[in-house]
Amino acid sequence: MSSRNAILDSLRKSVVPPASRPAPMIGTRYADPLKQFEETLTAVGGRLVRGGDLASLDVYANAPKVASLVPGVPSRNVDLHAIQDPHELDGVDVAVIPGEFGVAENGAVWVPGEILAPHRAIFVIAQHLILVVPSDQIVDNLHQAYERIQWRPNSFGILISGPSKTADIEQSLVMGAHGARSCTVILVAQ
């Protein structure tokens, strides 16, 4: 017998009493989700910028190599579509990526994989991350988030909450473990 069938058989041999699924949760709502989003994002080491003036952001303005996936925001010294091998993205200073929506309770931004084409690595390999999110697309909590997400076959998607971080050395929080050293979320009017 294959291992697959042996495992499934042994599971089915156990008599486990039936148990129903719980009712869906509603989850906390916030009086001002945007304010909550900003507070949480700040608490996890990120930064919120209201209004879309990228040029005024130091992290963007002074970066030699910028890879942008946001329409209307030009890349700088990087041509994402000309790159064949994602390893060549090492050295990108800033990635500017559109996020679909933000989550107030945890400061996360949902980025569907399709947005990241042609190279998924861009969100994590860049030294700094700028996420551009429509200001009216902030949900309260993860229950609402998962209600919205559309699952396509053979896809990728990621929730990003602040910069890459670690506290593995004596519980000291350090930003920039492997991924982005900073995470700026820019809210733009739709």
Partner: protein
């Protein structure tokens, strides 16, 4: 064979370091409390998480088949392993068929359980653990001492010294920021050279046929978006039915484990990179046996958050290595003796049964009740020391006979005060090593109650 108590005593002998360890973990528990308190429906969330796990376990085989179907449709290769050996062989076969000699791994307790690293290394594959804490213990040739905080037992000076030798950092440097930066550079070169990435699985979703991996560092994403080959290894209890269930578990996981609202990266892998390959290895390795035990079944609901370790007053003062198993603390003390009751017989006794683990557990596993139940199981298996079993039988004999109980009590109270201190506090008296015995009253309550009522 030394059990938990001996190793714990050795750890606790360095009292200032033990207090430092205790405070480090208590700090995480306090952060957890703050995060949990920010969610008014916290207890309802725990209830929902528990119910989803119970439901999933009630039809695990069906959901595994659903997962396999949907994962295959996503272009993922699904493998099944009955045990650790089969798991290791499958992973090796996948790597060998792609001529992989350099593998980067993100955190996976399952691969620790299966001892995958030495298996692959013996076959010529360089394995790099990329979670900073895991990399630290890997360079020290140690196992992790905590499932979420692998290097929690180490001081920054220990790590500074290690990095000086291994990564060439400045001698004596111990600033966490500096050391983390050094590790970032070192590990980035490993990511750039890797031919494959291996991850654990926090959740596998039957409905979507995808897996979800949570990290703060981004190492799972580096390891799966640069090389074209991704292998995800999961214990089969990681399955949940629906994507909407992720909301329940993700709201609990990081808040419980590290006191964060969510991990930095929550990556949903529903298929391979374009032009790449993705494999999921589903592992039993004793889990189906646990499913058949009603008392211990709910331990399969564990989401490996580590909260029971952070809150456990014994773990905090005895360290992860005192348990001698890859998963320490309360949950490990239930899982380990499932694997080898004799070898891990001391673990269910390495608890004061205070129940803090039960109250903190985000999926409401009745951990301390299971520790208690395991004690009985170990006594029935006769792997608990004979001395203890005879002692308890003797005590039971005395306590079942009121006259014998009264006589023994009177004798004890009469004799103890007149014995020389050296004899009372002799080597036999484990209680008295650091503690005084209670003062012996002349009369017991039952001696006095007559007077009281008359």
């Amino acid at each position: 064979m030394t059990g938990h108590a001996e190793k714990a005593a050795a750890f606790a002998a360095n009292e200032s370091r033990t207090h430092w360890h205790d405070e480090s973990l208590w700090f995480v528990r306090v952060k957890r409390d703050r995060q949990a308190a920010s969610i008014p429906e916290w207890e309802a969330l725990r209830e929902a998480a528990s119910a989803i796990k119970t439901h999933t376990l009630s039809r695990l085989a069906d959901y595994l088949e659903e997962f396999e179907r949907n994962a295959t449709a996503n272009g993922i290769h699904v493998h099944w392993a009955r045990d650790a050996a089969e798991h290791n062989a499958i992973v090796h076969q996948i790597l060998a068929s792609h001529n992989v000699t350099r593998l980067v791994k993100s955190k996976s307790m399952l691969t620790e359980e299966c001892h995958l690293n030495p298996y692959l290394e013996a076959r010529g594959i360089e394995v790099t653990d990329t979670d900073l804490g895991e990399r630290i213990v890997q360079l020290r040739k140690e196992p992790p001492s905590h499932i979420v905080l692998p290097a929690i037992h180490l001081k920054k000076e220990d790590i500074g010294e290690l990095f000086h030798i291994e990564l060439g950092t400045e001698k004596g440097a111990s600033d966490p920021k500096y050391l983390t930066e050094a590790a970032r550079g070192h590990l980035r070169s490993k990511f750039m050279e890797a031919q494959a990435g291996l991850t654990g699985v926090n959740f596998a979703v039957a409905e979507t046929g995808g897996v979800v991996v949570c990290t703060n560092e981004g190492n799972a994403d580096m390891g799966t978006s640069l090389p074209p080959l991704h292998i995800a290894c999961m214990g089969m209890e990681k399955l949940i039915p629906r994507a909407e269930d992720l909301a329940v578990f993700l709201r609990l996981l990081a808040r419980s484990g590290t006191g964060q609202p969510v991990t930095t990266y929550t990556s949903h892998f529903n298929g391979p990179l374009p032009g790449g390959e993705m494999h999921v290895v589903i592992v039993d390795n004793g889990r189906s046996r646990i499913l058949g035990q009603p008392t211990f079944r709910s331990s399969l609901g564990c989401i490996r958050c580590g909260a029971c370790m952070n809150t456990c007053p014994v773990y905090r003062r005895s360290g992860g290595y005192s348990y001698g198993y890859i998963v320490p603390g309360p949950i490990g003390s239930i899982l380990a003796p499932q694997r080898d009751p004799e070898k891990y017989a001391s673990l269910p006794f390495a608890s004061s049964l205070c129940g803090s683990c039960t109250d903190v557990c985000p999926v409401k596993i009745d951990l301390h009740q299971q520790l208690l139940a395991f004690r009985k199981k170990l006594v029935d298996l006769k792997v608990v020391p004979l001395q203890k079993r005879l002692g308890m039988a003797g005590l039971g004999f005395v306590l079942s006979r009121p006259w014998l109980y009264r006589m023994s009590g009177s004798l004890l109270r009469a004799v103890m005060p007149v014995l020389p201190r050296g004899l009372v506090y002799g080597a036999w008296n484990r209680w008295g090593v650091q503690r005084e015995l209670p003062a012996m009253p002349k009369e017991s309550f039952r001696d006095l109650i007559g007077k009281e009522l008359s």
